[in-house]
Symmetry: C2
Subunit: 199 residues, 2 copies
DNA sequence: TAGATTTGCTTAACGGTGTTAGATTATTTA
DNA sequence: TAAATAATCTAACACCGTTAAGCAAATCTA
């Protein structure tokens, strides 16, 4: 009677296959081409069975978003743990963020709504805050002034996030022209903000 | 026989009505809800008529994008002309950019692919470069070092653009939480970059 | 003015989408 | 083996962008 577990495992496999198929289609043809019937084709089923694993199409996207945040947090944490000083940690962490965006371009688009459809329903996802906290902590360490205003750290964090997300968005939408220049802008900006973080 | 002109004017009206209807639907229900049949309903015609005025749905979006760039350039130019020093010009121009993004939220989403579907075909649109040039000129004035590297101005421009576009994107996607804080981040960032523009 | 032609607009359709209900087939249980 | 249950599919609905065909009114031509 161990078949219960076997079947359970098979179901989990199918669920994973759906997500894999979806991501594969997006990688091959873009978000616009993703359809329930195409996913079904790829996993050799018909469309309605997907609804036994996910509430609807949005549910698939939501799960992919979740996976994205988990990978991102893992990468950022690794970058932090490989460096010692807060300065080098912060730089490495933002570069990890940057690398994630291009290594998992499709996930990044989904997570941050760059040239995408969908979403709206990205409300309370705890996984989305994983990497937020990591960044926040390191930034706080760099602030040496006596009594920072309440939203001071928050503002610095948003400044970092904005410039890097902005650069990424511009590159993803405009199909990134000069990769080398962008790397320079990125590093210059990071160092600039770190340098004057107490202003 | 002045009826030729009258008819011509009516046709131009209908074309404008289509664009207005489209934008109105988007403002009321979001980009996802925009459909040819809904536009037709709003202008009290049936869908196929629209194809006498635009090649396809993309054509409507493209024209709205064009209009967006024209408004943006006008706003930025006005901001520049209301200020004297390059420093205050630049700040006012970026704030004008910022204001445009929130005053014409839907157009900005369309122009820069923030949480949108479509596009790809944003290739050569001359109107898109109108405001680019304005910014570029003023930034160049602020650079005082002797022989700036060839891509120096370009890099500074991208730095500005990135942080502001990043902030806007984050606010549009995350439904902007603290408007006041964002204004502060924006101004701080602009002044920070101006301050160290020759680094 | 009568007929021919052009114009403006609609209906109907095609192939696609997300999604649901019902029927069908396969598997498990008694 | 028979009944019950699970797994899967077919068919359909309402929508989408888009195109082709047809109708009816206005216009032009004789």
């Amino acid at each position: 009677m161990g078949s219960k577990e076997r079947i359970q495992r098979l179901k989990e496999d199918t669920r994973a296959n759906i997500l894999d198929a979806a991501l594969q289609i997006v990688k091959e043809e873009g978000w616009q081409a993703l359809s329930m019937r195409k996913i079904a084709d790829k996993i050799e089923y018909t469309a309605p069975i997907i609804y036994e694993y996910f509430l609807n199409k949005e549910g698939i996207l939501l799960e992919l978003t979740r996976q994205g945040y988990i990978i991102l947090a893992k990468d950022i944490r690794a970058a932090r743990d490989e460096n010692k000083t807060p300065e080098s940690q912060l730089e490495a962490m933002w570069i990890a963020y940057w690398d994630f965006a291009f290594q998992h371009k499709e996930l990044y688009q989904l997570m941050y709504g760059v040239d995408m459809n969908c979403c709206e329903l990205k409300k309370s996802m705890p996984e989305a805050e994983l990497s937020d906290d990591l960044m926040y902590d390191v930034i706080a360490k760099l602030i040496t002034i006596e009594k920072p205003a309440e939203d001071f750290v928050c503002r610095k964090y948003y400044t970092f996030w904005s410039i890097i997300h902005g650069l990424i968005s511009i590159n993803l939408v405009n199909k990134g022209r000069d990769a080398e220049m962008n790397q320079r802008i990125l590093k210059d900006a990071i160092r600039g903000i770190i340098k004057y973080i107490n202003d």
